[in-house]
């Protein structure tokens, strides 16, 4: 050893490094399964959801001792970043949740396995019509793990404090009027709402009420410049009238709920958010209702969002049944639902929802009620965000910054937004 020269040192270093590299590469080849033969399951959320799903996976393993599951969990942003690198390395989990802006992006990357007739996949709880609605462009390669819709959430204590009620027939004009009036007259200096034009789901509902779509069937932006401008303008009138928290007050265009939850009367949200958000302010009782709509709103504007999950295309044939069994457990297991609750949305399996209802918490009852109400409405098809559109909310936030700082007019911001999103999609 004492004869170690610089040359031999470098040689042995190279050998060692190549060994490390070889070992690393061996561990991230195209095989999707975990190193110990277990299935990899990936999902996102907060620590409560992480804990709940870990317990659910334990329950799954107890029910299917022949299938071991390796959990892969992350915060929503971290999850997407990890998926991006896993996608590039073709090292994707066997069963994974799909972030809403990435449904078609992942499909274009060839991540999904066709689930038509997959052994072990139990769709018996769904009608043929439902299964048809799960298909994307006629292919059953993703399934909804949960469903939710846009809602208007409100603080019932704040309404009671002022002795006021929201109008029964809520449209955008009378809501704006109500919020301006509330902000000007309530005794505690609260605002009608937080400044929230960045919200994707109510924005999509607003567009659909105008007869537009956020995304079209052929993978383009469906929103017109006028549609975007009308949406921003509705919010700007509220902001300028002092009916929203200021951008400074809410510390950005996209405020944290914890920052504004006790300062505003109403909030636009997804129907499932009440489950977690209400817990942040246990002194208050929240309720939710359908979003406002004008009497002449386009037919079928309501929509139920399918939050999807999929099986990786790289799952070898001999493991498809195990992966499909895990997906079925997610779709149909009362035990899983009792552990994870409705914080990620209601289950698309209505029988399961009926079964769970007696055990649901008061806030979950509100999720169930609005889910059923919206399920019964007429709904024209909605289309997923095309590849390349993943940054559309960032682009919207940038334009909103320009508007709120007085750097751009609303029509200019709307035009810039449409141009930028179309550019991103074209460049994808």
């Amino acid at each position: 050893m004492s004869d170690l020269t610089r040359r031999s040192f470098l040689t042995w270093t190279g050998v060692g490094a190549l060994s490390v590299a070889a070992m690393s590469l061996a561990g991230c080849g195209p095989s999707a399964s975990g190193g110990d033969g277990s299935l990899r399951f990936a999902w996102w959320g907060g620590s409560d959801r992480q804990r709940a799903y870990l317990e659910a996976l334990d329950a799954f393993t107890a029910e299917h001792p022949e299938i071991q599951v390796a959990p892969e969990f992350g915060d929503y942003d971290a999850y997407q970043e990890r998926m991006t690198t896993q996608m590039a390395a073709r090292d994707v989990p066997d069963v994974f949740w799909i972030p809403s802006p990435a449904v078609l992006t992942y499909r274009e990357a060839g991540l999904y396995r066709d689930l038509e007739g997959a052994p072990g996949l139990d769709l018996s709880a769904f009608t043929e019509e439902q299964v048809e609605s799960f298909r994307l462009a006629g292919t059953l390669d993703t399934l909804p793990k949960s469903i939710f819709s846009p809602v208007l959430r409100y603080n019932t204590n704040f309404l009671e404090d002022e002795g006021v009620t929201l109008p029964d027939q809520l449209d955008w004009d009378n809501l704006a009027e109500f919020l301006v009036d509330y902000s000007a007259n309530n005794a505690d200096g609260r605002k009608g709402t937080a400044y929230g034009p960045y919200h994707d789901m109510p924005f999509e509902s607003f567009l659909r009420q105008r007869g537009e779509d956020l995304w079209t069937e052929d993978g383009t932006l469906g929103a017109s410049v006028d549609g975007v401008a009308a949406w921003i303008d509705w919010w700007e009138k509220l902001r300028r009238a002092g009916a929203t928290t200021s951008v400074s007050e809410q510390d950005g265009i996209e405020p944290a709920w914890s920052q504004v939850g006790d300062k505003v009367l109403v909030t636009f949200a997804n129907s499932n958010h009440i489950v977690d958000d209400a817990q942040a302010f246990p002194d208050y009782v929240f309720d939710q209702r359908d979003v406002p709509a004008a009497e002449d709103a386009a037919a079928g504007y309501h929509f139920t969002y399918y939050s999807r999950f999929a099986m990786y295309s790289g799952v070898p044939d001999d493991r498809v049944e195990a992966a499909a069994t895990l997906m079925s457990f997610n779709l149909n297991s009362p035990e899983l639902l009792s552990l994870v609750g409705l914080s990620a949305g209601a289950p698309p399996n209505t029988e399961l929802l009926d079964q769970y209802e007696p055990d649901a918490t008061p806030d979950e009852q509100k999720v169930i009620a609005i889910t059923r109400e919206i399920n019964e409405t007429e709904q024209r098809p909605r289309f997923e965000a095309p590849a390349g559109s993943g940054s559309w909310r960032d682009l919207m936030i940038r334009e909103l910054e320009e508007v709120t700082l007085g750097e751009k007019t609303v029509p200019d911001a709307a035009a810039s937004f449409v141009e930028a999103v179309e550019g991103e999609i074209a460049g994808a």
Partner: protein, 324 residues
């Protein structure tokens, strides 16, 4: 044997390694003992070398290749020559990122070094409990780049945060600093200055290498504190100042976490905190524009290399190594 002053631990003349001492003779053939030390050095280097070749070199080479391609992570990269580099010239956000990063480097690094030097000089006065102060001041350097501190910064500079609360005592009413394009970057500069502990410890070590008798002689000659600081401390500390300058400059060019967390990853408001590395991240991981992101990363590497080289050239004029 190393001799130290009893009171301050400062080295005195004649101690090995003191300023002005030189290794005897030229480059001699290594003795058996030296060879043994070489072996130990190689063994210590081994983990880094293995990591460098096995983990870092691959992505480094890959990014150099990807810089000349259109690569969206989903489909195979397509060779496009210099298009990514040409595209930068017309990319407004690229130039916004360059502007923000340059301002950050040029403002925060001198401020941080100045503050670190000031405190190092204060602490070098043989205070009781010196090690406690040193640890306390070093702590922000360990925490400053963390997500927790960046979140804390959001609270401190928010509309109802600590800073506005204090300013309110003087009748100054401001909104959220982080939502004001003219103030947002300054909060990140302050955050960087606050992490002065690392350069401060290096300065402190440098101050302790300055021979005590130089100060004693100058005091006998009637030099005051300022004169001693300007004519003895600063010149003999220039190699340490230079080292800290290089280290902190490179670190500032690569700042990412603070801006990512404080701006929520957007670089807002209005791109006022869009650091260069944050824009690389956005292009690569949000827009799946990995070829462009790789090209940007290589431009940054070249800029850092050029800035470092320029500093080395200029340093010949102001850095005093004591043996010249």
């Amino acid at each position: 044997m190393t001799l130290t002053s009893k009171d301050t631990g400062r080295r005195v003349r004649g101690a090995p390694g003191a300023a002005g001492s030189k290794p005897p003779g030229g480059r001699a053939k290594p003795s058996g003992g030296t060879r043994g030390q070489g072996l130990v050095a190689h063994i210590f280097l081994l983990p880094w070398m293995i990591g460098m070749i096995g983990v870092t070199a691959g992505p480094l080479i890959a990014s150099a290749v990807l810089a000349f391609t259109d690569y969206d992570l989903l489909s195979p990269p397509q060779f496009i020559g210099l298009d990514n580099f040409v595209r930068m010239a017309g990319d407004e956000r690229f130039w916004a990122a360059v502007r923000v990063t340059l301002v950050y480097v040029l403002v925060s690094v001198p401020l941080q070094l100045g503050f670190a030097l000031f405190l190092a000089v204060v602490l070098d006065k043989g205070l009781r409990g010196l090690s406690l102060y040193r640890s306390a001041f070093y702590l922000p350097s360990l925490l400053g780049g963390s997500v927790a501190i960046a979140i804390l910064w959001r609270q401190i500079f928010g509309e109802n945060g600590l800073v506005n609360h204090v300013l309110g005592w003087f009748g100054i009413e401001l909104g959220s600093w982080l939502q004001d394009p003219s103030l947002a970057l300054s909060t990140l500069v302050v955050l960087n200055v606050w992490t002065f502990g690392s350069p401060m410890v290096i300065f402190l070590a440098g101050l302790r290498q300055i021979p005590e008798e130089l100060y004693e002689a100058s005091m006998i000659d009637g030099a005051g504190r300022v004169r001693r600081f300007v004519s003895i401390t600063i010149p003999l500390l220039t190699p340490i100042i230079f080292l800290n300058l290089i280290l902190q400059m490179i670190s500032a060019f690569q700042a990412f976490t603070q801006a990512h967390v404080v701006s929520g990853g957007s670089g807002g408001p209005l791109d006022s905190t869009l650091f260069y590395t944050l824009y690389i991240y956005q292009r690569g991981f949000v827009n799946f524009d990995m070829g462009y992101a790789s090209a940007m990363a290589w431009v940054l590497l070249l800029v850092i290399a050029a800035a470092t080289a320029a500093n080395f050239i200029v340093s010949r004029r102001w850095v005093y190594y004591g043996d010249e």
